[in-house]
């Protein structure tokens, strides 16, 4: 799951640009693949969240100093990436577009921006990163996270009212007792909530976190859903009381909070958490109350996570408490809270470990190594996965205990991967798959290529007459309804085209049903190209097709366009004949099915009397003609044009 924070996107762009600048000729190869990979990664949504941590704080936590290069190497092996080394000042200057040596505050501290895998929520803060690297390098034991013994005191209670099921049905809670904040710890505590809200919580739609100074509150708590007019409180950072209704209005102009209003805005009831004195803890997922705000002096923190997805709420709560219980008087100990829903009681957080039993042979055979069971246990421990060797009959297994921080472990394959990482991907011996397979092209693509090559070279045959060959173009499959229909004199009968539901702009309204508009647009953008201009394209259009499971299917077409001071209708006619000749279909009398024939047509995008359909096997497979002057005018093309467009799949 990737971080969609705008600041992150900005960084990405800047990085891309810096990588393309100043490339010496001939050095394209590696660079191009680098960029290619980056694009695919972006497009496969593999973009990873970036965590910014103070370098010196991190080194202090690691009890070791590194050069940037050494730290980069360590990150590479661990599967995170040192993305940028910067300072607060540099970031500010970049945002304000100032010169690199301009005087700004904040150059004192070096910041490491580190990319972490999108499913490793335990690496989203300095505490987790340091813990992960310390365990990886053998400096620290894997911590055991435990619940406080509540036998001698009463557990805090949270009662969930049934109305919450209308809007945001789940809540999970926990208490961090005796925590000691410093400015750095406090900042990290806030940053982690932001990072979680951004990705795992899906911009607070799935989960929202509220943290409170428990000493300002009195349990038991209730989680309710009330009409907005009945909820009144002083929100965080404000001094006056607002009703929930007023707050929604008020935050419409708040750059940060306005993005979250839609989550509850249209609901008749809003979720709200009260303590026993009817003080509002929070109006999730929008804002906390001012009353219970945490400060540097806060000793006891109450954490509530409200959610529409219980699994994710538990992971979020676990991440918060496992990361910050390290600053509690009882290190890694968390006080549980009882959540009562419909009279049923659940205790959170659930810090139980999950166990997986994985065959040693599975691990070795999938990676392609021969590790001894104890070596595997050693490697897994480096990845914070304590494990033991167990034997059952002939098979040797590894029993892995995944701590609550490792919610990413779903299957033995995740265990196998951690062994491979800790062993080192680059120490694995290269092998080649043993099986024999045959190379084979798709017939349609092979045929298209033959046509394309012929289509471009065939012009040599009449070079003295036409003086120029056809130039291949590659146009966009998406376009506007205006271009696809209106501009070519067609009406959208709603029976033919695939329509996009969520286009950003009108440029992406429809999947093209004809290649002609794209070619006309290309021509319009090349006004200065010497005439005659001769273009062709072999590509797909998409038409609604009820015989397909998805209700639409591609059609491969060949289109060509000729433009000069005269329309070149005969050239296009000749091209049609030539295409049929090279696909080995001869002309036959009109109405017969032994070959192809040409019959005058009435298509709106072509000029009357200078257009015809091409019939093959009794069906019209395409049209050619002089492009209608109105169409040319709409595309702002001053010169006459002729065009053809035909389906090529019938020739297969």
């Amino acid at each position: 799951m990737c971080c969609r924070d705008p600041a992150f996107e900005r960084e990405g762009n800047a990085r891309r640009e810096s990588r393309t600048a100043g490339l010496p000729a001939g050095e394209w190869a590696l660079r191009s693949y680098e960029l290619a990979a980056e694009q695919v990664r972006e497009n496969q949504r593999l973009a990873m969240p970036t965590v910014s941590v103070g370098r010196d704080l991190l080194f202090a936590a690691l009890e070791q100093s590194f050069t940037d290069e050494e730290f980069d190497e360590l990150c590479f092996d661990f599967g995170i990436e040192l993305d940028e080394v910067t300072t607060e000042g540099k970031i500010i200057r970049k945002e304000k577009h100032l010169e690199e040596d301009a005087a700004t505050e904040g150059d004192e501290e070096w910041i490491y921006k580190i990319e972490v895998p999108a499913n490793r929520y335990d690496l989203l803060c300095l505490e987790g990163l340091a813990r992960g690297l310390r365990v990886f390098t053998g400096k620290e034991e894997v911590p055991t996270y435990s619940l406080a013994d509540m036998s001698s005191r009463a557990m805090l209670k949270m009662t969930v009212k049934p109305e919450t099921s209308l809007i945001r049905p789940f809540v999970v809670c926990a208490v961090l007792r005796g925590i000691t904040f410093t400015q750095a710890r406090y900042n990290s505590f806030i940053d982690l909530q932001d990072k979680l809200h951004q990705n795992l919580c899906r911009k607070r739609t799935l989960v929202a976190i509220g943290t409170h100074d428990l000493d300002t509150l009195e349990g038991p708590f209730t989680y309710e859903a009330l009409p907005p007019s009945e909820i009144k409180f002083v929100p965080l950072k404000q001094t006056k009381e607002f009703s929930a209704q007023e707050l929604m209005e008020f935050y419409k102009s708040d750059m940060k909070l306005k993005k979250f209003l839609h989550i509850i805005e249209s609901s008749p009831v809003y979720p709200v958490i009260y303590d026993s004195k009817r003080r509002v803890l929070s109006l999730p997922p929008i804002i906390n109350g001012a009353h219970s705000a945490i400060t540097l002096k806060t000793k006891n923190v109450f954490i509530e996570c409200t959610a529409t997805d219980l699994t994710k709420a538990k992971i979020v709560l676990n991440t918060m408490v496992t990361m910050f219980s390290q600053y509690c008087d009882q290190k890694f100990e968390v006080e549980p809270v009882e959540v009562i829903t419909d009279g049923k009681s659940n205790v959170y957080p659930d810090l139980s470990c999950r166990t997986f039993e994985v065959d040693v042979s599975y691990i070795n055979e999938t990676i392609g190594v021969q590790l001894k069971p104890m070596e595997i246990v050693g490697y897994l421990y480096k990845m914070q996965l304590p494990a033991k060797v167990i034997k059952s009959g002939d098979t040797t297994k590894i029993r892995v205990t995944a701590p609550p921080t490792r919610s990413d472990v779903l299957h033995p394959c995740d265990v196998m991967e951690d062994v491979a990482i800790a062993f080192g991907f680059n120490r694995i011996e290269k092998t080649v798959p043993k099986s024999h397979t045959q190379g084979k092209e798709q017939t349609l693509n092979h045929f298209s290529d033959l046509l394309r090559e012929q289509g471009s070279w065939m012009n040599l045959d009449f070079i003295q007459i036409a003086l120029a060959g056809f130039t291949e173009v590659l146009t966009w499959i998406l376009g506007s309804n205006m271009e696809n229909f209106t501009m070519v004199n067609r009406e959208d009968d709603k029976k033919k085209s695939v329509q996009i539901g969520n286009p950003r702009t009108s440029d992406f309204e429809v999947v093209r049903t004809s290649l002609l508009p794209g070619m006309l647009k290309t021509l319009a953008h090349n006004k200065k190209t010497p005439r005659p201009v001769k273009l062709f394209e072999v590509s797909d259009v998409v038409l609604l097709d009820s015989s397909k499971d998805v209700g639409a299917g591609n059609r491969r077409r060949l289109a060509a366009l000729y433009c000069d001071q005269t329309s070149g209708f005969e050239v296009i006619h000749g091209l049609v004949d030539r295409v049929m000749e090279i696909v080995g279909i001869s002309r036959c009398p009109v109405g017969q099915t032994t070959g192809y024939y040409i019959k005058p047509s009435q298509e709106p995008e072509y000029f009357t009397g200078r257009q015809a359909n091409i019939f093959y096997q009794g069906f019209s497979i395409g049209t050619f003609g002089i492009v209608h002057p109105e169409v040319l005018q709409r595309f702002d093309i001053p010169d006459p044009c002729s065009a053809m467009e035909l389906e090529i799949e019938p020739f297969l």
């Binding site: 693949y33 694009q39 799935l206 966009w476 499959i477």
Partner: protein, 562 residues
Amino acid sequence: MILSSCRYCAGPSLNWRIDLRNGRIRAHSRVASEARASAGASDWGGCGFDSRGSGRCGEEGLRREGAAMGAADKDVVEEILLGDLNEVGEIADSGEWASRHSVDHGVLCDVIKSLSGFELVDSKELSRESWFLEREGEEYVENGSAEMQVFLAVPPEGITLPDLKAKVGDKLLNVGQKNAMKNGWIVMQKPLMKRKVAEAEDIVRSQLVSIKDGQEVSPDVIKDLKKRNLIARKLWKGYEVCKGPKYALKRSKPATDVTREMLQTGAWKEQEFKAYNFEALGFPISGGYLHPLLKVRAQFRKIFLNMGFEEMPTNNFVESSFWNFDVLFQPQQHPARDSHDTFFLKTPATTVELPEDYLQRVKTMHEVGGHGSIGYGYDWKREEAEKNLLRTHTTAVSSRMLYKLAQEKFVPKRYYSIDRVFRNEAVDRTHLAEFHQIEGVVCDRGLTLGDLIGVLNEFFGRLGIKKLRFKPAYNPYTEPSMEIFSYHEQLKKWVEIGNSGMFRPEMLLPMGLPPDVNVIAWGLSLERPTMILYNIDNIRDLFGHKVDLEKVKSNPICRLGI
């Protein structure tokens, strides 16, 4: 210049006449249409090339010039020039001569070049900087300067500003009023604009006329006119001309090429041939031109085919969320499934048919897991899976292929595809809403991570990239996931070049593939390598309607890995 790359310059003989009264030359427009008709495309199918009347040069000249008068003008100019040279012996400045004879200087230069080629004249190039009028300057010569037009629009009794504006228009008023007031021609006596003098002299216009006529003008004047953007500087090129060794009043026409007629009549023995100018470019070979992106695609295809990969049928842009996301074990709340990233469809909005028992297995895997997995633990919704979209990756096709394979008796397979994928993102220099993805997939019993590393080394090796290493990464449907890095010798650092991984058992087992079958896969985009290879820094110059056709034509062959 029109004929700079022409090798012979022997224009066809066409109709022309000179208007003797003013010495101007007119060519008949009929000439042009005839030339076009014979050179053009009429009835090419039946006639063959011999029937075309005009020669190459004439036709090329016509075509490139765009103006039909060229050839006719040249013959006339040539005749006058040769005649004049006979009388005066030499012409010191072709520019001055052209304006004296009301001849287009460009045409004259062509004629001089052509005659020099045949040694009828000797010429020496002249060049100097000169000033010419911008469009606004030309307008002033025609209608008077802005200040004069404004002055004339102010009647002796005065005029209100809005009326004056209505009379001369916004643009003219702005410039004209300011200057006319500065010149002391008019004055504002609210509410009326009045004349301050009865008459004014349009100096600016006279200055412009002088420049147009090529007369000397003082530097101060130049400076002022330049500031007003009425004139601009350009490099003027012309010739000094005198009689050449083969001078004649009329040139005899040496042949430029050997013809069938010469062979038949034996005329080639006597015929004088013009020297061939080997400095000029040869005749442009105009075959077809393939698109650069598809040339690169062809190279990638070849590499895959040589490595025993079979192409997947990717001609289905419309896909269901089920095949695009769900079967890949990508949870339904995953950000990729957000409308900000993916094009969902209004028509056809949903998919009508999904394999029911497979769908149940996918649902179970997401909700509670199975085959050793704990799943994601959420309510999987069929409606989400039924939503149609434009595929966001070709892996949607890979998943269909693997499912199909699982329904048959298992045989090892290697698959590849290179085709269009779609993403609902803002378009900029490096991003489009559609691009091409290259994907390779190997499917076999007992494949290892070592095999993936081996295959990647082979694949990238064939592209000329030898030194690889791998970094752990995350992707919802592969485990392990590896980013592929290569060492860049020039940059002295490791750069990322692709992504790869082993498909998760949660994806493969619900399909029905045997448990010991592993699938390894990798991907990259087609656009970026092509952009670098062909030195294109804006993706829209490469792909889509804003492409420069001339660039498409001049692109070299793709030498990927060669």
